[in-house]
Symmetry: D2
Subunit: 140 residues, 4 copies
Amino acid sequence: VSEMEKRIAASFSAQGLMATLGAELVFVAPGEVRIALSPRPELTQQHGYIHAGAITSIVDNACGYAALTLAPAGHEVLTVEFKVNFMRPASADRFIAIGKVIKPGKTLTVCQGEVIGEREGRRESVALMQATLIIVAIDS
Amino acid sequence: VSEMEKRIAASFSAQGLMATLGAELVFVAPGEVRIALSPRPELTQQHGYIHAGAITSIVDNACGYAALTLAPAGHEVLTVEFKVNFMRPASADRFIAIGKVIKPGKTLTVCQGEVIGEREGRRESVALMQATLIIVAIDS
Amino acid sequence: VSEMEKRIAASFSAQGLMATLGAELVFVAPGEVRIALSPRPELTQQHGYIHAGAITSIVDNACGYAALTLAPAGHEVLTVEFKVNFMRPASADRFIAIGKVIKPGKTLTVCQGEVIGEREGRRESVALMQATLIIVAIDS
Amino acid sequence: VSEMEKRIAASFSAQGLMATLGAELVFVAPGEVRIALSPRPELTQQHGYIHAGAITSIVDNACGYAALTLAPAGHEVLTVEFKVNFMRPASADRFIAIGKVIKPGKTLTVCQGEVIGEREGRRESVALMQATLIIVAIDS
C-alpha cells in the first residue's frame, strides 16, 4: 500500500457522509479512483431507485480523490464545480463510481466520472460527470 | 394545504435519502421549493464541512419539486442533469436549498438552485445549481 | 468613461470573433456587462435560427468581462468552464447577453449569464449560463 | 456516401455560422462526427488565441450531428444544454472537434465532445464537453 493510498483511505474514513451512505473505497491508482455503493432503503428517492444525490456523492468523491493522486505533496483538492447527467434509473445490485483525471494542472484539474450499475453480470452506465477541482496548499 | 403541497410532501417522505440526511421540506409554492438541512457529523467531508454530495442532494430535490409544482397533473419529474458550483466551504448552523423554475416546459424544465448557509443572522451562498428536468407521464 | 470601461472596450475590440459575429459591447458596470448581437444569415444554424455557438460566444464574453470588472488591477480573466441551457429557438430582432458576477473571488469567480431575445417590445430568455472564471496576473 | 452522411453534410452546409467560421465536416460515422477548424484572425479572443465561442461552436455541432447519426428517420436533434471545460489556450495549426454519443435515447441523447489542437505532429486536448440533446420529430 503506497503513501498515496494510505492518505486517500484516511481522508475517505474521515468523511462522515461516506459512512452514512455505506460507500467503500475500492481502487486507488495514479489518476483513477473507484468507490462502491450498495443499494439500501436509506438511499432511495420516491420510486425506490437510488437517489441522484447519493450517486453524485460517490462520483464527486471518486473524481476528487483521482485528482488528489496527481497533486503535489502538501496539497489537497476541493471541488470547484461539476455537471452530472443521469442516464438511467439507478437500479442495480451494486454501483461503482469511477473518477479519472483528464487534465491535471498546477491549480485546476479536470476529471470525468461515471457510475456503473452492476446486476447479474450486466453493467450499465447510470451517470456521467465532468468536474473541475482546485489544488490548494494545506494550511499547517 | 393545497393538493400540490400534499403531493410533494408525500413524495418527499417517500425518499429514504432525505430521512437519512435529516432534510426537511420547508416551503412549497408554484415554481419554488425550499428544503432545510442541519449540519451533523454524519454528513461531513474530511474537514468537517458538510459534504458537497449532501448539499447537492437537497438542492437537486428543491429544483425537482419546484419543477413538479408547475407540471400537469398525472405527471412526474426526473432530473436529466445538473451543474453545481461550490462557492464556499459548507459551514453554517443551517442550510436552506432553494429551487426555482426559470423556464417551465411541456417536456423539459430549466431550474436554478441555490444553497444558503445561515449563521447568527448572516446568510451566505454556498452552492449554485443550474438543472434540467424532464416531465414524464406517470405509468398507471 | 472609467478606466475599467476603457480597458474592457479595448479588450473587446481586440477580439476578432466579436467583429466577425457583429457583436457590440453595450453596457459595463461593476459586476455586470452586456453585449448585443443582431441576427444575420452568417450566424445561423440549419433552420435559420441563430446558432447556439454564436449565442454562447456573446454570453461567455459578457460573463468574462463582468468578472473582469471586479478583478484587481494587473489581472485578467480566463474562462475555466461554463454550462449553457438553450431554452428557446434563438429567433429575435436583437439579442442581449447579460453577464453578472454571483461570487467574486481572489482566484475563481462564478457568474450567471442570460441571453434575452427582443422582438416588438417582447423579451424572451433564450439561453442561461453558469460559468467559472479564473483571475490570473498579467505577464509583463 | 450513406444517406446519413448526405443528410448531415446538407445540414452542415445550411449553417451560416459554420461557413463564417470556416469549419469543415471531416468525419461522419454512427455515433461519431468530427469537424475541423483552422485558426484565423477573424476567430480570436484578445490574446490571439481562438475564442472559446468558436471552439464551443464546432464541438457543439460535432455532438449534435453525432446524436443525429443514431436518431430515427424523420427526426432531428436540438441542443438542450452543454458544459465545456477549456483546458489550454486554443493555439494550434488546426483544431478537430470530436463528438461521440455516450447514451442514445428515444427522447434525450448524452454526448461527450473534445477539441484537439494539432501542431507539428503533437495533439493536445483543448476543450472537453458533456452535452444533452433532444430528438424531435421533423414538422412536415
